[in-house]
């Protein structure tokens, strides 16, 4: 049985050009953040009705995906599936870099990003946000330790326990992220216990989709062999996660539809919410759930091109889902006076919140994605994250469900 | 060669320093004169050297008392500092200028402060020169000054607390 060999990707001019190209987007993102901070948020599309906008859509997506990206390593270390073990290092790296990208966007959008030290020293422990700050930073530390266990031969015996710790930590982390919305009593689209587990399942789906795309991208870039065996296994798993997310979305909406008090917000999201309804049905459900399932489990599932396209569709559907949850949830007016309608208010009470994404917000979000990608590429250049070969003959001894 | 380069660099530095100095300038910051004195013998609520060294500590402590406990006495109140130290004349220097009282030292020491993102950087006075203490209420300048001088209530408490810290 051949041992899996890990090696850094090649450097040289192509590498610098790639990082430089991604770096342009990072610089643009930083510029957008400076523009927003210097002039104040009035230059963005966010306002007093829709307080979290496009940057938060990207940031929460990246953070959720970060936790899910570690799934591949967890399946290897915690559940003992041998075939995932060679992928574990890249999985850990991606988990850290996606989280860094998401947090960067979140911090740079703050009204006072210069007070990050305040955020890390003053804690209100009743706030799930405060817990999240510690969960996110702790996650990076735990995954770093996990990677160290995997990459240092002497520490290999401890990989399993580190992997277990990382697995539990990321379940708590994603539960905390979902609870940001789940704990809000004020708005009808939130205030639901299902938000937390729904976010956990979403993390599985988005994280794996990104992982597959990054895997295919890095192996194509570095010219290393990537066999079908591993891709088929991963894409089948992705299909399961997409279906699971779809199940949670159905349960969430069915529950809301049952109670008359929530009919307003459901009607808004599913029927006459304009852009939110379109994003929900066409992008989140259609492009992000139904179409990828057909592609992945149908005849097209054997083609790398279609696997890649499916992953991209899942990502786009995921972004749309975040948009509907975060922005659509804020847009629906709060029910302050049941049975009455607001006919006049200077603060848009009772009216659907107006939001139009602005360029600086979008550029900041893309900047976070670029930061995650650049950090991943640099990481694989600097340390031994990537197996030299994932061809079928390398993977075969690990297949057939053989547990390590 | 290196020695020539070194002497050339030194010449550039000296020229630069010389160019910085303008007529009447010293190397120390220009600190504007306050609008009022605390007493005949003392300029501010505490001796000048004490304030220079500890004003941030006093301000931070008092801000928590004001914010969380509603104690709005004049001792170490930022508003009171501004009332005494900054002129409310329309052409008086505002915060971004290095001639503003706080900024005069802070630009010299290169310590950024963000107090005036929220706090008013000059006192609010009405046409008669009284301090405006709410939307429609004023307090004559002399009354404000007397209140500051007679403010011994928490001065004693803060004084003993500071001694305990030392």
């Amino acid at each position: 049985m051949k041992a899996i060999d890990f090696k850094e990707i090649d450097g040289g001019l192509p590498f610098y050009l790639l990082v430089g190209a991604i770096g342009v987007f990072i610089l643009a993102g930083l510029g957008a953040a400076y523009y927003m901070e210097h002039n104040g948020h009035w230059v963005t599309g966010m306002n007093n009705q829709i307080v979290w906008g496009t940057p938060h859509v990207f940031a929460v997506f990246l953070i959720v995906a970060a936790s899910g990206a570690l799934n591949v390593a967890s399946i290897g270390s915690v559940f003992g599936k041998a075939m995932y073990k060679p992928l574990a290092r890249l999985s850990g790296l991606l988990a850290i870099t996606l989280l860094v990208g998401g947090l960067a966007v979140l911090v740079l959008d703050l009204g006072h990003p210069d007070r990050l030290i305040v955020a890390m020293t003053y804690y209100n422990f009743k706030s799930i946000f405060a817990w999240n700050i510690m969960l996110y930073t702790g996650f990076m530390g735990i995954v770093a330790v996990y990677l160290w266990m995997m990459m240092e031969r002497k520490m290999n015996p401890y990989t399993k326990i580190a992997g277990f710790g990382a697995f539990i930590w990321r379940l708590v982390l994603t539960t905390g992220t979902g609870s940001i919305f789940g704990f809000i009593v004020a708005r009808q689209a939130y205030d639901a216990a299902i938000m937390a587990p729904m976010f956990v399942i979403m993390s599985f789906s988005f994280g794996l989709a990104i992982f597959i795309l990054v895997l295919m991208g890095l192996y194509s870039w570095s010219g290393r062999p990537l066999g079908d065996a591993i891709l088929i296994r991963l894409k089948n798993l992705l299909g399961v996660f997409i279906a699971a997310v779809f199940y949670f979305v159905v349960v969430y909406h069915l529950t809301n539809l049952y109670g008359t008090e929530n009919h307003g917000v459901e009607r808004f999201l599913l029927l006459d919410g304009g852009v939110y309804t379109e994003l929900f049905w066409i992008v989140q459900i259609g492009l992000g759930s139904v179409l990828p399932l057909i592609l992945l489990y149908g005849p097209a599932g054997k083609s790398r091109l279609w696997i890649g396209i499916s992953c991209l569709l899942v990502i786009i559907g995921g972004l749309a889902q975040m948009y509907v949850i975060i922005i659509g949830g804020q847009a629906y007016p709060m029910e302050m006076f049941p049975g009455k309608e607001v006919i006049e208010s200077s603060f848009y009470d009772g009216m659907v919140g107006y939001y139009s994404p602005s360029l600086p917000e979008f550029v900041l979000g893309i900047g976070g994605v670029a930061l995650a990608l650049a950090a991943t590429v640099v990481g694989t250049r600097v340390l031994r994250f990537l197996p030299v070969s994932l061809a079928d003959d390398m993977i075969e001894p690990y297949q057939s469900g053989a547990d390590a | 060669m290196p020695r020539k380069l070194l002497s050339f660099l030194l010449m550039i530095c000296a020229a630069g320093l010389a160019l910085q100095a303008r007529a009447g300038d010293s190397i120390l910051p220009y600190i504007p004169e306050a609008q009022a004195r605390f007493s005949a013998t003392q300029g501010c609520m505490r001796p000048t050297e004490d304030m220079r060294k500890n004003h941030m500590k006093y301000l931070l402590h008092k801000r928590d008392l004001t914010m969380h406990e509603g104690i709005r006495t004049t001792l170490f109140s930022l508003k009171q500092c501004i009332d005494c130290h900054v002129s409310s004349a329309p052409d008086a220097p505002r915060f971004p200028s290095e001639k503003h009282f706080c900024n005069s030292c802070h630009t010299y020491a290169a310590v950024d402060i963000d107090c005036f993102e929220c706090h008013a950087d000059r006192p609010l006075k009405d046409a008669q020169g009284n301090f405006v203490i709410s939307g429609n209420e004023t307090q004559p300048a002399t009354a404000a000054a007397n209140a500051a001088r007679e403010d011994t209530g928490d001065m004693r408490a803060l004084a003993t607390e500071d001694d305990a810290h030392e």
Partner: protein, 249 residues
């Protein structure tokens, strides 16, 4: 009969003169305390939970088209718009409602409700959103990082985010870019034993729709009115025990 009429006339004159004197005092001197605070707190003593500040708003007396309270708050606290209504701050606003079934319309001012269990305080990661011992909910802008989570969480949409640079703030009401703000019950006035600007304006213009006072003091005007008249909290099902109560909704 004429004796009765004589006594009535004397009493009427006495009552009338007293009322005129009281009205004169109340209107003429701006510095008069229009609502007596039980025991005035000395300036150098911390606030305690012996006092709980509250407000009672009578929607029936609130006139359509009147925004004296809003104007007074703007003047007192110095928040103005930049002609960008979507992102301009609003500490207090008038809301006009119509019953969907009956067509009955009414107006009322909407402001921070100063809840006893404020969701905004629960969710603030740094603790900048806090409740003072006497019940006033405030934002400590020194440690506010501008994350706007409290704005998401507030059931009354009471909070505003400052979207632009601010200059010429009122020295007694600091506010700045990048932090969140909301009605403070004019804490700078309350701390010197006066009433919020909105209540003062409503009373000074003889609308009488707003009453402010100590809900823990059974002899205060607000406590007496709360005991006498039916009132309720907005979104009372959330069990936040708000400090602002409404009559007539």
């Amino acid at each position: 009969m004429s004796e009765d009429t004589g006594i009535d006339v004397y009493r009427r004159r006495f009552l009338g003169n007293t009322a005129k004197a009281a009205a004169g005092l109340a209107v003429v001197t701006p510095a008069v305390f229009l609502h007596e605070v039980g025991q005035a707190r000395p300036a150098d003593q911390p606030v305690t939970s012996q006092v709980r500040w509250g407000m009672l708003i009578d929607s029936g007396k609130c006139a359509d088209g009147c925004d004296d309270c809003v104007t007074a708050c703007k003047t007192e606290n110095g928040w103005t718009g930049h002609n960008r209504p979507l992102s301009d701050p609003q500490w207090i606003r008038k809301v006009k409602l119509r019953d969907k079934e009956t067509g009955y319309t009414q107006t009322l001012p909407m402001l921070c409700q100063h809840c006893e269990y404020p969701p905004c305080v629960d969710v603030c990661p740094t603790g900048a959103s806090f409740k003072r011992a006497d019940g006033i909910v405030l934002v400590d802008k020194h440690i506010c990082i501008g994350c706007r989570y409290c704005m998401m969480a507030c059931p009354y949409k009471a909070r505003s985010f400052v979207h632009e640079d601010i200059h010429d703030q009122k020295p007694y009401a600091p506010r700045g870019k990048g932090t969140v703000e909301s009605c403070t019950f004019c804490v700078q006035r309350v701390d010197s034993n006066r009433t919020p600007a909105c209540v003062e304006a409503c009373t000074a213009h003889n609308h009488g729709a707003m009453v402010f006072g100590d809900m823990n003091d059974p002899d205060s005007e607000i406590s007496r009115q709360l005991e006498q008249y039916s009132s309720r909290q907005i979104r009372g099902d959330l069990q936040l025990n708000t400090g602002v109560r409404y009559r007539g909704i």
